[in-house]
């Protein structure tokens, strides 16, 4: 028997596989028993009621997709009344996800949803900071620090900072999140992207720009997980383009404790189950009795640290 359990701070996951925010809902229970997952991660909510962006909200590009959903949200009360109770029926940690336009806004919503049934809160800081210059909080260490520090002061529930790949300072941002009191990092959200229809000259998305997700993201995010693991001690949850068990093992070797699967579920709704049996098989074959033993085992001994941590100077 392979031990697939993973600790994210005080939270024990029965295995390292969980869905990514915005790519999962209880509707997936129509396809398989979602109690088999390591955690349930809800779609990001905001305090404000939001209807989201104009359609088209999705397009495809090679083996990737672009989305500009825009965080539609029915607000906090709807979340407590209609979403939370669904997940109380499961024996799986439930992770809420929140966003806000300011540090105070984040603190407000985190306070409101620090209720029984919410095992951790993912802080989606990949959204614009409207009090500053509109750049996403997670693009810079100081705005990251401010949000996480504020949230930390208001709730005792574990907080996971979800970082953006749209930054040149991923390690500084990761460190800032840890220093401000985050219990884990989720690395990462989508990459800002766009696409143009050469027949109509129109951008493929109603919102012009959107987030790229899918397999193309994987090596980029894997690199970021590796870099972050060099500078933080808190657990890292890898997320980006994961589509099979090999990807998961790679992320764990790079320093992730667990992973989130997003886009792959759209293509193959059962993919998280196949991944689970895949990692079990891999561990059995390679005589790994505890999957947590693999975390950060990437063999980079012959590489000087300075090289590993360099930004783009290849």
């Amino acid at each position: 028997m392979v031990d697939l359990r993973i600790n994210i701070g005080d939270i024990i996951l029965k295995n390292p596989i969980m869905p990514a925010s915005g790519t999962f809902s209880e509707d997936l229970a129509s396809v398989f028993d979602i109690d088999l997952l390591g955690a349930h991660v809800a779609k990001t909510i905001t305090t404000e009621i939001r209807s989201g962006n104009a359609t088209p909200r999705v397009s495809e590009s090679g083996y990737n997709m672009l989305n500009s959903i825009g965080i539609p949200s029915k607000g906090i009360e709807d979340f407590k009344k209609n979403i939370l109770p669904i997940y109380k029926e499961y024996n799986t940690p439930f992770i809420a996800s929140v966003s806000a336009p300011s540090a105070d806004g984040f603190a407000y919503i985190c306070d409101k949803i620090s209720v029984p049934g919410v095992d951790a809160i993912e802080i989606n800081i990949s959204c614009p900071n409207i009090e500053d210059d509109g750049k996403a909080f997670a693009m810079r260490p100081n705005s990251t620090f401010k949000v996480i520090e504020k949230v930390r002061s208001i709730t005792n529930i574990p907080i996971w900072a979800k970082l953006t790949p749209n930054t040149g300072e991923i390690m500084e941002v990761a460190k800032a999140a840890q220093d401000a009191g985050a219990n884990a990092l989720v690395v990462a959200n989508t990459i800002l992207a766009m696409q143009i229809d050469i027949k109509t000259y129109k951008p493929s998305l109603g919102n012009i720009m959107g987030g790229l997700s899918g397999p193309g993201l994987k090596p980029i995010v894997l690199r970021m997980v590796y870099q972050c693991s060099k500078v933080v001690d808190i657990p890292i949850i890898g997320c980006g383009g994961i589509s099979n068990f090999e990807d998961v093992i790679e992320f764990i070797l790079a320093g992730s404790s667990a992973v989130q699967v997003g886009t792959a579920t759209f293509i193959n709704p059962c993919v998280m189950l196949s991944i689970l049996s895949g990692i079990k098989g891999y561990c059995e074959e390679n005589k790994v009795s505890k999957i947590s033993d693999l975390i950060g085992l990437v063999d980079d001994k012959n590489t000087p640290d300075t090289f590993a941590l360099m930004e783009i100077d290849i």
């Binding site: 915005g22 997936l28 129509s30 396809v31 909200r57 090679g62 899918g214 759209f266 709704p269």
Partner: protein, 271 residues
């Protein structure tokens, strides 16, 4: 809804039985599928995984209404228009090829117990969506009127199928002008004078939606419409596929894949 009472969605490999042209623009795909995936309500759809074709990748699945199905024969059929790269890749499927599909998805048409006379108005590929409703109405002994609209006589499809289900199949075309909204309105009004109509069912066309919103409203007759929107997950998770609906005095966004694809005509908004 608790976990156990959920309707099941399956991801299954099917085998291509045939994939033939009906006319220049449309093909008819027949698949052998495991019967567990074939508890289908007319109006529901499947999410099809397009093969790679000549180096072109269709990453996302393509939504397609169920055209015909038989649990007994373990068969499911789609009628599709060659549109872009995904449908072109599907058109390249050959007999015995394996083809992965996810479904059944969404909420289909609802035939209320008291419906005795219904009218189906199908334009273009919309008839693919309405065809299984025709079968169900026939089985239930509901009196069926079908109005089929197309560009030309050559583009009219499935007339034989509808003729086997109804003795009132009316065809209208753009070529002879009979499909104009003015004519369609006249036709439907005359129909309502000669018989009672309990519900209208349609699909896809904006002009027909506008006309039916008016006629349903004036005559206080319910109607249902199947709508389309671009999709990613197809099962309600991503909110890519929303459209606006008017409920009370409010505009509400609903997911076509999950709350639909079939909606009340009174709530659907022309685009």
């Amino acid at each position: 809804m608790d976990n156990k009472s959920r309707i099941k969605i399956y991801e299954v490999d099917t085998e291509v039985i045939s994939n033939n042209y009906i006319n220049n623009d449309y093909k008819h795909l027949i698949l052998r599928a495991p019967s567990r995936a074939l508890d289908i309500v007319p109006g529901q759809f499947f999410h099809l995984q397009c093969p790679t074709f000549e180096g072109s990748i269709s990453f996302l699945r393509r939504p397609m209404s169920v055209y015909q199905f038989s649990k007994k024969e373990k068969q499911i059929e789609f009628l599709y228009k060659l549109h872009g790269k995904g449908t072109r890749a599907i058109s390249n499927l050959k007999k015995n090829n394996i083809f992965n599909i996810v479904g059944p998805l969404g909420k289909g048409f609802l035939l209320e117990e008291n419906y005795k006379n219904i009218v189906l108005i199908a334009r273009g590929v919309g008839l693919a969506t309405l065809a299984p409703l025709g079968n169900l109405a026939f089985e239930k002994g509901i009196n069926l009127t079908v109005i089929c609209s197309a560009r030309s006589k050559e583009h009219l499809m499935s007339i034989d199928l509808f003729n086997s289900l109804s003795n009132k199949v009316i065809t209208v075309t753009d070529n002879d002008g009979s499909s104009s909204m003015v004519n369609l309105e006249l036709l439907i009004n005359n129909l309502m004078l000669s018989q009672s109509v309990d519900a209208f069912f349609t699909c896809g066309s904006n002009r027909i939606l506008k006309l039916l919103k008016k006629l349903c409203g004036l005559n206080n007759i319910p109607g249902q419409i199947a709508l389309e929107q671009q999709m990613a997950c197809g099962i309600g998770m991503c909110f890519c596929c929303v459209r606006p609906f008017e409920i009370g005095n409010k505009i509400i966004q609903k997911r076509v894949c999950n709350e639909g694809p079939v909606f009340r005509i009174s709530e659907a908004l022309p685009w």
